[in-house]
Subunit: 182 residues, 2 copies
DNA sequence: TCCCTCATGTAAGTAGTTACATGATTTC
DNA sequence: GAAATCATGTAACTACTTACATGAGGGA
């Protein structure tokens, strides 16, 4: 998963390890952490496997290593990204896949987003059933805060569903946050 | 962190490993995963350290092991939970701490929630600055989906802030999801 | 001159997953 | 009688974090 994300960063441009880390952080850094102790060995491994090429360049006294995906790298990346949504492996970190989804042709992309949407709506339905069975009155402190975590999950799922519906239609992002209430 | 969560589950009642896993999953299972290959060794370790007691009981032909926190266990748990909010260690998984927050006296609890709120609002402010500098027109497919991930983070942070404000005041949970738009 | 960012790497240790392994109880 | 759930454990492997280690470049 992390390997695919790395390959996905260097499909169209040469980047250094440092750049790759920054790009990931700028996009999904609030929800996905990368340490450089994880990244540099991964770059080595992916280069050895033939999924990346490495191109050393001197800049002043600094030796920089620029990486880019090979054809083999692009192929395994697209295989991974094209695969149908699987709650077991994609349930967490679906955000990573969506972050990269622009690399897929529109038809496949839409299909994948429909699967994500279906999945989140199913989950939401399950939480709605649970929610109806809950008693939210006369709660102890303990119960109040335990339940608050449930409501947090519930809210998150609602908003995720809303977001997927929005981007599935590729509606303009500028209006995304304003339209919360519609 | 996981260790404290486990101790937190058995402060007031004896539970089996299996029960502990279920309780965690029911509360925060959508956002925090527990494997039993992680739990059973942890129960052993925490018992060896003197933070839990273990009490074996035969039920039919099944040997069940009931765990409960010792005074030492309760002490380290409360130390951990009472500690001021630290973005480095609590930034992720603040949900775990809030899940257990009912164990703290109201004053400390409120102080901790104010810290969480302050932190999320600061982050939100940062994202607002970034958002204003973004151009969201004439995006390539690639750029559209990369940015969509940014907006997801943004939305999440907005909702988290809203949620923290809500539970800080201990307002009735039943009304939480309805009041999205106010 | 100092500090921050850029830039790359290793290595020890920690944590976690997955599969292996087994068997009882309950529900349909 | 089959399937799902209850119940506990180990062990190999994988992944990740953290600290160690080094140094250049740019701006105040």
């Amino acid at each position: 998963m992390f390997d695919y994300l790395v390959i996905g960063m260097v499909l169209h441009e040469e980047l250094t390890g440092y750049d790759i880390k920054k790009r990931i952080e700028q996009g999904i850094g609030h929800l996905y952490k990368v340490s450089h102790g994880q990244l540099y060995p991964a770059l080595k491994k992916l280069t050895a496997k033939g999924y990346l090429t490495m191109n050393e360049q001197m800049q002043g006294k600094m030796l920089k290593k620029y990486y880019m995906a090979t054809e083999a790298g692009k192929a395994v990346f697209l295989d991974w990204l094209s695969a149908p949504f699987d709650p077991n492996t994609d349930g967490d970190n679906y955000l990573v896949k969506i972050f990269l989804l622009g690399e897929l042709p529109k038809e496949i992309r839409t299909k994948r987003l429909q699967e994500y949407e279906f999945y989140t709506q199913q989950l939401l339905g399950q939480l709605q059933v649970v929610e109806k069975q809950l008693s939210t009155e006369n709660l102890s402190d303990r119960e109040y805060f335990e339940l608050s975590a449930f409501y947090f999950s519930y809210q998150l799922l609602q908003n995720t569903t809303h977001w997927i519906q929005y981007i599935k239609e590729e509606r303009p992002l500028a209006g995304f946050l304003q339209n919360e209430g519609d």
